[in-house]
Symmetry: C2
Subunit: 438 residues, 2 copies
Amino acid sequence: MDSLKIGIAGVGTVGTCVVVKLLGGAVKDTTITRLAARDINKDRGFKMPESQWTQNALDLADEDDVDVLVELIGGADGTALDLVRAALANKKHIVTANKALLAKHGVELAELAEKNNCILKYEAAVAGGIPVIKALSEGLAANNIFRINGILNGTCNFILTEMETKGAGYEETLSIAQELGYAEDDPTFDVEGIDAAQKLSLLSAIAFGQKPNENDVLTRGISDVAAIDFEFAKGFEAVIRLIARAEKKIKSESSSASISGTSGEVVQVVEPCLVRKTSVLSGISGVTNAVQFETDMVDVILQGPGAGGEATASAVLADIADLSQFMKSGMRVTPHVFGRSVSELVASQSETEVMPSQWYIRLNLKDAPGSMAKVTSILAEHDVSIEEAVQRGPQNGEDHRPVVFITHKCEKSAIKNALVALEAIDVIAKDVNYMPVI
Amino acid sequence: MDSLKIGIAGVGTVGTCVVVKLLGGAVKDTTITRLAARDINKDRGFKMPESQWTQNALDLADEDDVDVLVELIGGADGTALDLVRAALANKKHIVTANKALLAKHGVELAELAEKNNCILKYEAAVAGGIPVIKALSEGLAANNIFRINGILNGTCNFILTEMETKGAGYEETLSIAQELGYAEDDPTFDVEGIDAAQKLSLLSAIAFGQKPNENDVLTRGISDVAAIDFEFAKGFEAVIRLIARAEKKIKSESSSASISGTSGEVVQVVEPCLVRKTSVLSGISGVTNAVQFETDMVDVILQGPGAGGEATASAVLADIADLSQFMKSGMRVTPHVFGRSVSELVASQSETEVMPSQWYIRLNLKDAPGSMAKVTSILAEHDVSIEEAVQRGPQNGEDHRPVVFITHKCEKSAIKNALVALEAIDVIAKDVNYMPVI
Ligand SMILES: NC(=O)c1ccc[n+]([C@@H]2O[C@H](COP(=O)([O-])OP(=O)(O)OC[C@H]3O[C@@H](n4cnc5c(N)ncnc54)[C@H](OP(=O)(O)O)[C@@H]3O)[C@@H](O)[C@H]2O)c1
Ligand SMILES: NC(=O)c1ccc[n+]([C@@H]2O[C@H](COP(=O)([O-])OP(=O)(O)OC[C@H]3O[C@@H](n4cnc5c(N)ncnc54)[C@H](OP(=O)(O)O)[C@@H]3O)[C@@H](O)[C@H]2O)c1
C-alpha cells in the first residue's frame, strides 16, 4: 500500500502540532512531502529537509508528490482560498481547519470537490478537538435533526464564566482574557459572535441541507452582558452563555398571527442566552466547547476543547486518517462535503424570526410612582406576558434601578417591538438587555 | 447504484425501530429483504410481505438477497453466535448491538471477518445511541488514549441517582427501577456490573489494542452501596456512580515497592466510585450514559441515552449508513473490527492491581474507647494514610457507628489488606464499603 503524500500549508499553532504528530507516526501510511510557511527559516522545533519547504503555498497545489493538501493558513480569502481552489482543480483532497473559508466559500468549494471527485474534510473547523462533524454527519446519519445548541466560542465562554465567578464587568474581563491569551487584541471576531456563526453555519448545512453562509446567522455578541445580569441569572438558577442555535421551524398548530414561520424553515442564531441550570450547557465553563444535537431518535452532547494547537491537530489528523482509510478502500465514490450533493442543498432563507421562547428582559426603571405600571402596560400591549419580575432596590442614591422580567413564551419580534416602545417613554434609562431563556 | 440488501434477525425493541426507520427512508439506497423473529405472526406495527419473514434466523446467513446481516437477537451464544458465524463465512457484512456476543467471541468473529473481507460494526453495543465507537476509533484515530471513564449502564446509574435524591436504600430503589422497567426481574447482569464490563472491554480493545474479553475486567457491582454512603458523599461534595475505567499503567517514576505495574499494561475496572462534583461524570443522572476519553491531544466527553429502542436504532442505522457509503466507495480493503488486525491485538493480562488512587472507606465502628486508635494504627501498618475522617454520632442506642476515611493515594491491594486486618478485630461490625475517589 502506497503511503499517503501530505502537503501542509501553514505551520503555525495548529500546523506545527500536526507535523510533529505525523512525524511521530500518529497516522499510519502517511508521509509529509511538502511544507509551506511565510518564513521557512523559523525554528519550529522539528527538522524537515530544506527542499521540502516553500514560501509559495500555491506550489503545493500542483505538486505530483501531494495527494492531500492540509490547509492551515487561515482566512476567508487570499492565499487560503486561492490554494484550496487550485488544489481541488488539480484533484487533490483537502483537509482544513478554516471555518472562515468554508462559511464564505463553502458552496463553491464543495462544487469544485464534487466535480473533481475530491474529498474536502474540515472536522477541526468546528469545536476544535471535539469530533462533532463526524458525530453529526456519520454518527447521526439516519437521524432527523431538530435542533443544534452549541457553545462554539471558547473566548466568549471564558469571558462569561469569568464574569459569573468574579462578579466582574465585561470590559475588565475582556482585558484579563486578552492578557491570558484567550482573546485577540482585536476581539471583534470572537466577542461579536462571528466565529460562532461561521461554525454554526457549517453544522447547520450538514444537519438541515442548506448552503452554508455565515450571513444567514442572526448574530449578537456578548458586549451588552453586564455583571448585574449574572446576579439576576443566579436568582433564576441560571447562567449566561453565548449559544449558537439552529433549528427547524415547525409549522405552528395554532393559527395565531403572532406565530410565524412555515414548516421546514431553518433559523440560525448566535446570541447570549439565559441558560437554566437544568441544561447541560449551563455546566460548560471556561474555554470548553460543547454541542448538543436534538434529533428524532437521540439527544446527544459532546464536549471538549474547542481550540488549542494539539486539540485542533487531533481533528486534522482524524481527517487525514479517514482519508487514508478511504483511499485504501477504493474511492469509487467520494462522500459529499456537506452530507449531500451541492445540487441538493437549498439556499437558506435569512430568517428574521427565531422560534418563540421565554425571554429575560432587563430594564433600568425610573424610581417614580407609576413607572412600573407604565412598563407592564406597554409589555401587555405588545402581547408580552410576564411570568416573573424582580426589582432591585435603588443603589447609592441613583434615580433608576434595574428590573428584570421573565416573560412567558413569545416571539422575538414582540419583545423587540415592546423594547422600542419602552425606550420611547421617559421612565426607562439606557442600558437595557434581553436574552432568550433556554 | 444498487441498493444495499439488508436482512434483520430479531425484531424486538431495537429491531422494530430499525425496520420502521428504514421503511421511512432513514438510510438512502437500502432495502430490507429478509426478517427473522421467533413469532412471525406478531403484529409489530409495520407491514412486510410474508415471504420475507422466517422463523429460522440462520436462513439469513445464506440468502443471496442479503448483503448485510443486522443481528438484533441478543445473547452471547446460541442463535446469535451461530448466525453471525455463518453469515461471515458467507461473506455477509454484520451490524450488531450485541455486546455480550462481542465481549465473549469478539476475537474469533473479528478473525472470521478479516478472513472473509467483511465489515463487522457494533456502534449500538456500547452506550446505545451515543456514537462512542466512532468517536474513539475514527474521531480520535490519531490520538494516544490514556484513559477511558464511562457511565455505561443506565440501570445502575438510575438506581444510584434515585438513592442520592430520595435518600433511599439499595433494595427498595431496585424495586422501583424494576417497576419502572429500568431493571430486569433478574437484575444481576446490570447491577453486578457485567453489562458495563462487556462494553468496557470493547472500548478498551479499540483504545489499547487488546483482545476484548469481559473476564479481564475487574468487576464489582453496586449492591454494597448504602444510603449512608450518599450522605457521606454529599459531605465530600461528591456523588456515587458505577464507573467503568480502562487505563494504561504508566511505569512509575519512583522505585517504591508499593507501586506496581509495568509500562503499557492496561487495567480495566468496573466499580462504584466516589465522583467529585468537579468531574463532569458527577452530573450524569438517571439512565443517561457518558464516556470520557483522555488522550495526549484532547479530553472529550460524550453523553446521551445508553438504551431504548430508538436510541439504539440510531446507532444501528448509522452503522448501516456507514456500510452503504463504504460499499459505494469500492471496498478494496475493509476496516478492522477493533481498529487493527487481529494478529496485532495482544492478550490483555488479567491485572489485579488498578492504578493507585484515593479511597473512600466506610467502617462500622464499635462505640468504645480506643476503637478509633486501633483502626487508625491498622491502616497505618498497611501504608494507608488518612487525608480526612468523618465520624457520625451513634444513632438510637446502636453500639456501632459509621466512620468514613478518605485516604491519600495508595494501591487497592493496601486497602484490601487493611480491610481484611480490620475485619479481624472486634471493634468493626459487618457492613463495610470502599470505593476509589475520582
Ligand atoms: N489555533 C487554534 O486553536 C485553532 C482552532 C481551530 C481552528 N483553527 C484554524 O486553523 C487555521 C490555522 O490556525 P493557526 O492558529 O495555526 O494559525 P497561525 O498560528 O497564525 O499559523 C498560520 C501559518 O500560516 C502561515 N502562513 C500565513 N500566510 C501564509 C502565506 N501567504 N503563505 C504561506 N504560509 C502562510 C504562517 O507562516 P509563518 O509561521 O511563517 O508566519 C503560519 O505558519 C486557521 O484557519 C484557524 O482558524 C485554529
Ligand atoms: N433494548 C435496548 O435498549 C438495547 C440497548 C443496547 C443494545 N441492545 C442489544 O440489542 C439486541 C436486541 O435487544 P432488544 O432489546 O431489541 O431485544 P428483544 O426486544 O428481546 O428482541 C429480540 C428479538 O429477537 C427475536 N428472537 C429471539 N430469539 C430468536 C431466535 N432464536 N430466532 C429468531 N429470532 C429470535 C425475538 O423474536 P420475537 O419478537 O418473536 O420474540 C425478538 O424479535 C441485544 O443484543 C441487546 O443487548 C439493546
